[in-house]
Amino acid sequence: MEKETCRGAFSKKILEEAKKDKNIIVVCTDSRGSASLGSYPDELPNQFVELGIAEQNAVTVSAGMAAMGKKVYVIGPASFYSMRSAEQVKVDMAYSHNNVKIIGISGGISYGALGATHHSLQDIALMRAIPGMIVEIPSDANQMTALTDELLKNDCPAYIRIGRGEVPVINERGSKIEIGKAISWYGGADAAIIACGQMVYRALEAAAALEKEGIHITVLDMHTIKPLDTEAIVTAAHKCGCILTVEEHSIYGGLGGAAAEVLKTETSVPLSIMGIPDEDVPNGTDSEVLDYYGMNTDGIVYRVKSLIEKKNTLHK
């Protein structure tokens, strides 16, 4: 299967767009290499700002530039931009309505054995609680390209979390997305999985395996965590009667938490939240860690079947 990195897709797209728009600025914090920025700094030196290893300052300086009309894309590790710069995001980006977009790279557990200091497993909980923020987790490189297009048309502050490695390409090249609108796959009515980021591919694999067993589910690619597509969640709940959320994030406060907030006020269907539990994560690659927590085809299939059983018990 074709694989590509989201960071590579972003870098390619932003270089292309920045050549046409002098107000686009890319900001790095000694992160141009890990961001795969390639030739951008050399080709557009007047639209590239290097601020050294200082993420808080990077967000504030970016907000200052945005206040003067620049469209600023800050790119660096999600772990540092979400937690270390949290106050700068809250005050200088969101509360101040400055057009700064953070591209948080190597998000979730992408950094693997580099450990908890480098993991971002609480970023979604934090970012989605800040008024005015857009929060996105694209599922593949093509979606990242489409999202960049959308972000360029939008002057709201945003946090976009992407992974480090290559992820399977599931969306067609040139496909479009709408911020705040989930993408539905399969369309079955036995259960629904709501997933984001690289977990969408794993959810689709599980859906394919379930199809073979005659279990038909819906998979929602919830690339936008905020503003959340509540309509899609409620519709899926009414149609399928049970929901499993799957995310590369703490089980607290992320996509699952967001879905729960909607489901518990709008419906009473069983909900199961699959994510990283509240504990120290073992050393290993992201795939090894996800497998360890059962966040793979077999594990997701098992959770879906359990949910369907629960739904059926409730309906008896």
């Binding site: 504030t60 907000a63 200052g64 530039m65 206040a67 003067m68 009309g69 620049k70 005050v91 509360y95």
Partner: protein, 278 residues
Amino acid sequence: MKLTTEHKKELMIQAMNVRVKTVELIYHGKGGHIGGDLSEIDILTVLFDYMKHDSGDPDCPERDHFILSKGHSAEAYYSILEEYGYIDRQDLDEFGSFRAKLGGHPNKKIKGVEANTGSLGHGLGLATGMALALKLNQCNNRIFVLTGDGELAEGSNWEAAMSASKFKLKNLTWIIDRNHLQISGLTEDVMPLENLEQKTKAFGFHTLVVNGHDLEEIYEALDTQDAAGKPMCIIANTTKGKGLACAENKAEWHHKTPTLEQVEQMKKNMAEYRKEFA
């Protein structure tokens, strides 16, 4: 350029008016950061006279920009904005009431305010970003930012200072209201800042030290033409609570409401001072 005697006199009268207005605002609003308000008033008075700005055209692209990083000293800022017609007198009168337009910290929703501040250690970074954008656009507007001194314990200031220096932002002027006091006492006891002049110079600024209540000194520092292409830092030595006798140089007046008698006494002193001055 120097201030003419007449101009200086006008500014001194304005500064007195702003002092009285600020103290009344805090009295009627039942609270405010009075000590730092009063220490910064002479700086704000000269700055608003010096900067290119127009309340009739507040978004004018040619204007200079000001950020009050020590956002808690908002009452003096509001008073000077009212002097220049950005804020209505009624808005000042409603300060402290429910849903008032003017809150305890400045917000861009208020005409004339360029940045939302309140959490300390953000202003210099914002100013750096604004100055950098102007430089990239090859514009000549200037950015002025006023920080407190206690605020400088926030490391973000020094990250911003490194950046301003890296990008040679000669359009940026960082003014420090050096009143030597913060809520818990002397800055040098809470977290020593000295040698502040050497520190700012080491961070790449062209630093000048002035008496922050001497309008001429402030004006001349702002008008410095030769900063060797560096961002500028003006350390303005001030007195916390300046002009309110009972509050001068007292840390406990960082945030306090004066009594009616104290307000009246201050107004009386100011009136006498004005008579002498005239």
